[in-house]
């Protein structure tokens, strides 16, 4: 048991509450608070998550607000940004009207004062730039600016003239004695009292003054109440608000460094002492060491730490004591703990992720670390508060500090409601835009004013942004659905007679949005081919180790825990050679490591520095000519690369595992995988001679987020080995026999080839080509040629988004350009990754083939004809596609709307910390999320899924899958269903399906993709590409 007086820095005896119930309550509170921590694990295995995963039980619009409050972040883009989109027609007024009508429903016609309905008022508020200013700025505006002399710039000349004329008539018509007070007062105060002799400017000024005065009087008379904020009760927040004392920052400074040392995965040469004893013990040991100089606020901490180091430490009990010492009331415990945990949420989240989800790390940490972290944190907070109290209130007693602070906060009356001037200013602007004359305003009753003020404040900035955002989404989605409806109808017309011909070859890609353009170009280059897609791990969920890899790495979606281990091994004839090369590699690696590690020490550093001038040559070369340098390095590297390899894919032992015998899959398991993928892509007959599976990944330099650019379905790994493994399985005659028994006949002359597409430099490499029969080689060369042409074109289309790539480049030059980007140390945007993603189609490629979708769509293959009545195939496709795509999409959404809060800010000052995450600068919280450079061209919108199925079937899936249901019913994703036969579309709106009526009847056509995008950098609309025809299946 803790000694009571050790729990409080002022040595005052606090009676610890030793009640088990309290402890349980605290555990529960921590358990609850944990959910608010970011879910991102170590950055080298980057998995996209919904940033607000802990709010997923709420509907989207509510969650963004609640989450925004919790984390202090923005829920939507800024109002200015939406206005800008409104000006350039990215949002149209019709969109606003439609959204507003739907939102208000029956309340739309409610009358507001005498100016119209709630609908018209809100529409006006949405379209104008409502400026708000704090009281002090307003005073300045009123006195020094043209606010009361000139109309706002937005008000058109004709409207202004009418406005002034009406006011002039109103004033002149009245006899002086009868005119309202405000008119008389303004006339009295103006220089020239003869109203008849005023010029236009004088009248304009008069009108505005009268307008201001009438608004001011009205607002004052109305004196409408304003919803008051609940004052925060945590001591830290009160101190910050009252005196600007930053308790959390003081504590963070210590904890950032300590967490860095504690979570370090082997960067620091000296690891943290006593790390294996756990967070608290290790911290206590470190901070109880003698002969050290501590900052003033930590005085006395050493002896308390000594106690912790020596005795048994129960974190929950310690937390309880700290809370008691700080005088936290039972009802505030939850909030206090959550606040403390979130004060350094990146590090705390990483502790939580590391202790719960990352067993593969070199330095794992024990469970319960988060509790210990919190306990230590609260102790530090106590000391920091006590020190602040000593400075500002003359006492170190936490309860006294709380009393004083609360007293002070009562005394200092914080004004939360807007002042009269602030309210007046809003109405004043609205009146100008809406043409409400002083005459009308003066005659309004107090009730009407109250109603007006209330109406305006009800539609506050947050609510306006919600509507603007909905319109922003609607605009894109309407154009997408129009395009799909029109295009699919066009496709339907073209392929009236389903010719069951066989394509020249079939190419299977990941569903990734970056492969959309690659597929489209491949289909343009080779109109006789067909493409399809499946989640990029191709149902081969495995731990994989390459021939030149040190470890196994999971290659499957993060939600799946693989059972199988697969290793790439040298072919039997090259085993000796391979060993020799591995030894060379090991030596090179060892020397490089020694040089790098020792360059940071004193003597090693001395040696490396004296010869350091030699480092100039590679440095200059890499920066001046990245592509050339990398080529040279690569060709040098071939001497130590593993020679010919094969996958150790077949298992002999009964159970899978890591031992040599248990590596791989049984034939039966392979058959299931092959069957599943072929069903998923809807290809059960009519196989062409060659089927190529493309896995994908991405390689770039100076990019701590490199893993985020890889295949999302391989938990941030490279999907090449999956494609290779799948092809090997499908080529195995025994597997084919089993698959044939299950109803899918793969003819003998069909060969599967695995390939890897690097989405950053658009490189493609093929696996196991030696196994290709001679009969297939000619066709393969043809495929290779088409793919090479496609690589150029794909690079060309991608380059249009890079501002630093000239638009005049040819496709071949573009390919060089993207190759250069991948090797460039100074390139902060090697590729744009999933930025601009907005759409998912689930269905046959037939109805989207040839539709230019600007790399914004995840194309998921699904053929209802292959599915059974229980929609097994669609269910398993959606079980993967919806959470994965929604995760990617929502992470992009949140990182874009608030790149500092939800995202990780600018990439430029990032600093890799503990090899587990990035900090901004020298010491900051760990930054999960995406960087500004990754999201800068993204349009934050929720994902729209267009699924080829019927409402009944989807309802069935929703009913059976809780996670899908939560995302769909909470509007985290949006759903539309399509019937390609008739091109009719149904939209899912709050549980029901409403027919979608296309607003367009035509979409543009172009002869090729390049004709459509050439010369344009921005987001591009949809278009039908003519030149991609082939007989549909």
């Amino acid at each position: 048991m803790q000694i009571a007086n050790a729990s409080s820095p002022d040595e005052k005896t606090v009676k610890p509450i030793e009640d088990d119930r309290d402890l349980a309550a605290i555990s529960e509170a921590i358990e609850h608070a944990k959910h608010y921590l970011p879910a991102q694990g170590p950055i080298s295995i980057f998995v996209h998550h919904n940033t607000l995963h802990s709010f997923e039980h709420l509907p989207f619009d509510q969650a963004v607000i609640e989450g925004g409050k919790r984390y202090g972040c923005e829920p939507y883009l800024s109002e200015d940004r939406y206005r800008q989109e409104l000006r350039c027609n990215r949002i149209s007024v019709d969109d606003l009207r439609q959204i507003l009508m739907d939102d208000l429903a029956d309340d739309a016609d409610q009358l507001v004062a005498s100016f119209g309905t709630r609908y018209t008022l809100r529409l006006a508020m949405l379209q104008m730039n409502l400026h708000t200013a704090p009281e002090a700025e307003l005073q300045w505006l009123l006195r020094e600016s043209d606010l009361l002399k000139r109309f706002r710039g937005e008000v058109s000349d004709s409207r202004r003239e009418r406005f002034v004329a009406a006011t002039r008539t109103w004033v002149l018509r009245q006899r002086e004695s009868e005119s309202p007070n405000i008119v008389r007062e303004i006339v009295q105060n103006s220089g020239n009292k003869k109203v008849q002799s005023w010029n236009d400017d004088a009248w304009e000024a008069f009108t505005l003054k009268a307008l201001w005065r009438s608004c001011y009087d009205g607002v004052k008379a109305a004196n409408a109440p304003y919803p008051t904020e609940v004052p925060s009760r945590s001591l830290e927040q009160l101190l910050r608000r009252l005196d600007g004392i930053q308790i959390h920052e003081t504590v963070n400074e210590v904890l950032i460094r300590f967490c860095g040392g504690f979570l370090d995965q082997g960067f620091a040469e000296w690891s943290l002492p006593d790390r294996e004893l756990g967070f608290a013990k290790s911290f206590a040991n470190l901070f109880s060491s003698r002969f050290s100089i501590v900052p003033i606020w930590m005085k006395g901490l050493g002896s308390e730490m000594e106690t912790i180091a020596k005795e048994n430490f129960d974190p929950i009990r310690s937390i309880n004591e700290s809370l008691a010492a700080m005088g936290v009331k039972p009802e505030d415990i939850q909030e206090t703990l959550t606040e403390s945990l979130l004060a350094l949420r990146g590090w705390a989240g990483m502790i939580w992720q590391t202790e719960s989800n990352s067993p593969h790390l070199p330095n794992p940490i024990p469970t319960g670390t988060l509790n210990e972290y919190l306990a230590i944190r609260l102790i530090l907070q106590r000391y920091a508060i006590a020190d602040a109290g000593r400075l500002h209130f003359g006492t170190r007693d936490l309860t006294k500090i709380r009393e004083q602070v609360e007293l002070k906060s009562h005394r200092r009356n914080h004004r939360t409601s807007p002042s009269i001037n602030e309210r007046t200013y809003t109405i004043f602007q609205l009146a100008q835009a809406g043409g409400w004359t002083p005459e009308q305003l003066v005659s309004m009753s107090v009730e009407q004013w109250t109603c007006l003020v209330r109406e305006i404040e009800m539609f506050d900035s947050l609510d306006r942004r919600r509507i603007l955002h909905a319109a922003y989404e609607l605009h894109y989605q309407a154009s997408a659905l129009d395009a799909i409806a029109i295009h699919s109808a066009r496709r339907q017309k073209q392929s009236q007679q389903p010719a069951a011909t066989c394509p020249t070859f079939l190419a299977i890609f990941c569903i990734d949005d970056r492969e959309e353009s690659f597929r489209r170009h491949l289909e343009e280059v080779e109109p006789e081919c067909q493409t399809a897609s499946a989640a990029g791990f191709f149902a081969v969920a495995m731990y994989y180790q390459g021939a030149d890899h040190a470890h196994f790495r999971p290659l499957c979606p993060a939600i799946v825990k693989p059972q199988h281990y697969v290793r790439e091994e040298p072919t039997f004839s090259t085993v000796t050679e391979s060993k020799k090369r591995a030894e060379h590699r090991r030596r090179i690696g060892f020397v490089t490591h020694q040089v790098h590690a020792n360059s940071r020490t004193m003597t090693g550093g001395w040696i490396t520095s004296v010869f350091g001038a030699l480092a100039t040559f590679p440095m200059v070369a890499r920066i001046m000519a990245p592509r050339l340098t990398s080529r040279i390095r690569e060709s040098l590297g071939t001497f130590v690369k593993p020679p010919a390899t094969e996958l150790h894919l077949e298992r002999t032992a009964p159970q899978p595992g890591r031992e040599p015998d248990s590596l791989g899959y049984s034939v039966d398991e392979m058959a299931s995988i092959v069957e599943r993928i072929l069903q998923d892509i809807g290809r059960v007959d009519n196989f062409p001679p060659i089927v190529v599976f493309f896995g994908h990944g991405s390689g770039s330099l100076n990019n701590p987020h490199e893993s985020a650019y890889n295949c999302g379905a391989c938990s941030g790994g490279r999907g090449g080995p999956n494609a290779r493994a799948f092809s090997n399985m499908a080529n195995d005659p025994r597997v084919r026999r089993l698959v044939a028994k299950r109803g899918i006949e793969i003819p003998e002359d069909v060969r599967f080839v695995g390939a890897f597409h690097n989405t950053c430099n658009d490189d493609v490499e093929y696996y196991d080509l030696d196994l290709l029969p001679r009969t297939h080689r000619e066709l393969f060369r043809q495929i290779e040629a088409s793919v090479n042409e496609t690589r150029c074109r794909n690079a060309h289309e991608r380059s249009r988004r890079f501002n630093s790539a000239p638009l005049s480049m040819t496709p071949a030059e573009s390919l060089q350009h993207v190759e250069q980007r991948a090797e460039d140390l100074s390139q902060a945007r090697p590729e744009y990754n999933h930025a601009t993603n907005a759409l998912v189609t689930v269905g046959r490629r037939d109805w989207t083939r040839g539709l230019f979708m600007d790399r914004r769509v995840f194309l998921t293959q699904y053929d209802p004809a292959v599915d059974d009545d229980n929609v097994t195939v669609l269910t398993r496709i959606l079980q993967a596609a919806i959470p994965v795509c929604a995760g990617i999409n929502l992470e992009y959404y949140f990182s874009t709307v608030d790149v500092e809060g939800y995202g990780c800010g600018s990439k430029l000052p990032h600093n890799v910390a503990s090899m587990i995450g990035v900090m901004t600068g020298a010491a900051s919280d760990l930054r999960p999320g995406l960087s500004q450079q990754m999201v800068e061209i993204h349009e934050p919108m929720r994902m729209l899924f267009v699924i080829e199925t019927t409402p009944e079937k989807l309802d069935m899936i929703i009913a059976q899958n809780e996670s899908i249901a939560r995302l769909i019913q909470g509007n985290w994703v949006q759903i539309a269903l399509i019937d390609p036969q008739t091109s009719t579309i149904l939209r899912y709106v709050q549980g029901s399906y409403q027919p979608y009526v296309p607003s367009e009847t035509e979409i543009p056509t172009a002869n090729s993709s390049v004709d459509w995008y050439r010369g344009i950098r921005d987001h591009l609309g949809f278009a039908s590409i003519n030149n991609t025809e082939t007989a549909g299946r």
Binding site: D274, I293, H596
Partner: protein, 464 residues
């Protein structure tokens, strides 16, 4: 003047004029509110670097060809007050010390400029960065060529100013600005020391010319023209100046804080040039150091202590940039030791090599994860990484304490805060309390309206 002298003069003036011209173009255009395009800005910078390095190379070739070892460029007395024995003398010198350092500055500024051209693409503060960069480049050229202490001071100030401004490059966040202020305050301390040294030198020799300090010979052969106690006094001031600029003990605390700026600025300032400027100053004034044994011992011990502290602190850090910053410090400490021991050429080679190496390491710091992964793949296992207890037998006896020492960054900042800043603040707030008591008494009520003022929103809002 002979044609050779004229050629030297023209080339030398070009070397100095080109960075100043760059600074004027970038500075005036942003002063006038005209935003130069990204490519124009970076091309101007590159051109200026070329126009500085090519004439330098020309001078080197001529010097080698003619065997001349010292080329002074006189730009005259700009201020001269005969009664006070003061003149502001602009004089630059090309010799064996300044030329390597100048060429190093040009190479690194050129390479890092090229790096930044792409790295900062689409960045809002692109022009601002290159403006500060121009200030820095100009400062480096001036201070490496300076032949009088007042010229050196001009360059020195420019380097300091641009460092602080680039640390605060992300000025919309709180941390960078705060750290930049801290760095600035340390820099001011060292500036003050340098200024006092300059004045003292004027008093002693009547001029600030380094040549005048040294009775004979050009660097590194010169010997001091002042006696050893004078040398000690000036030397200590110079040492303080150098310690501030090169983050030597006990002023190392600012070095990790400087990592708030974009990667390239961190690389060139704290890996390469700025951090070596203190060592360069000592090297430039090495005859003075040689003149006093006490001073020599002080230099050596300061360097050694800094190197040891740096090595320990670097071992403890778990993030790449701070670790590299302290690794830099270690080598700078070693360089200072070398200077103290009179190993001038070694020190110079060490500076050049170390600057290049560290720049490269810092530029590619963000690629750490990939590099480690590659290494592990090559080696075929995890990188050797011992826990504390595994390695216990090889640790020094007070291992834990040393760890704490590194963890607390040598207790340097804490000590400065507690024993220097705090007493100062205490005195100030004591005065404040007295004043408040008196004014309250006079007005017989609470006399400070500001006590009840609401805090500025920035102070209570969230911190980035």
């Amino acid at each position: 003047m002979t044609p050779l002298e004229i050629t030297f003069h023209i080339l030398g003036t070009a070397v100095i004029a080109s960075p100043i011209a760059l600074l004027c173009i970038l500075g005036l255009s942003s002063l006038a509110g005209y935003k130069l395009g990204e490519s124009v800005t970076s091309r101007l910078t590159q051109a200026s670097v070329w126009l500085t390095s090519l004439p330098t190379v020309g001078i080197v070739v001529l010097m080698l060809a003619t065997g001349i070892r010292y080329v002074p460029i006189e730009l005259g007395n700009w201020v001269s007050i005969p009664e006070q024995h003061f003149h502001f003398h602009l004089k630059f010198a090309f010799d064996r010390l300044s030329i390597p350092f100048l060429l190093l500055s040009c190479t690194l500024c050129g390479v890092v400029g090229e790096f930044t051209r792409r790295y900062l693409h689409r960045e809002e503060g692109y022009q601002r960065f290159f403006l500060f960069y121009a200030v820095f480049f100009c400062g480096m050229v001036l201070s490496s060529l300076a032949s009088t202490i007042e010229t050196l001071f001009v360059g020195w100030e420019m380097v300091g100013l641009s460092s602080a401004l680039l640390v605060a490059y992300f000025h919309n966040r709180i941390n960078p600005v705060r750290q930049a202020e801290r760095i600035w305050s340390i820099y001011r301390l060292s500036d003050a020391a340098l200024l006092v040294a300059a004045i003292t030198m004027h008093h002693m020799t009547g001029e600030g010319d380094f040549g005048g300090l040294m009775s004979s010979g050009v660097w590194p052969e010169g010997s001091a023209a002042i006696d050893s106690s004078q040398a000690l006094f000036v030397g200590v001031l110079i040492l303080i100046a150098a310690a501030g600029k090169s983050a030597l003990f006990p002023l190392s605390g600012w070095l990790p804080r400087a990592m708030e700026g974009p990667t390239p600025s961190s690389a060139i300032f704290y890996g390469a040039l700025s951090v070596h400027l203190g060592a360069y100053l000592l090297l430039r004034l090495s005859p003075i150091i040689a003149a006093s044994l006490t001073l020599q011992i002080m230099v050596i011990s300061l360097g050694a202590v800094s190197a040891v502290c740096g090595a320990i602190m670097s071992r403890v850090q778990s993030d790449i940039k701070v670790s590299l910053a302290y690794a830099s410090l270690t080598q700078v400490g070693v360089i200072v030791v070398e200077v103290g021991m009179g190993l001038h050429y070694l020190a110079l080679i060490h500076i050049v090599g170390h600057a290049c190496l560290r720049t490269m390491q810092l530029l590619r710091a963000p690629t750490l994860l990939r590099d480690v992964n590659d290494l592990e793949n090559k080696i075929g296992a995890r990188l050797p990484n011992e826990t504390w207890s595994d390695a216990g037998h090889r640790r020094p006896k007070f291992g834990r304490w040393w760890y704490r020492f590194g963890f607390e960054r040598g207790f340097m900042d804490v000590t400065l805060d507690t024993y220097v800043v705090r007493p100062f603040v205490c005195v100030a707030s004591f005065c404040d309390r007295i004043e408040r008591t008196i004014t309250d008494k006079i007005s017989s009520e609470s006399s400070r309206e500001s006590d009840n003022a609401e805090l500025h929103p920035e102070k209570i809002n969230r911190v980035a």
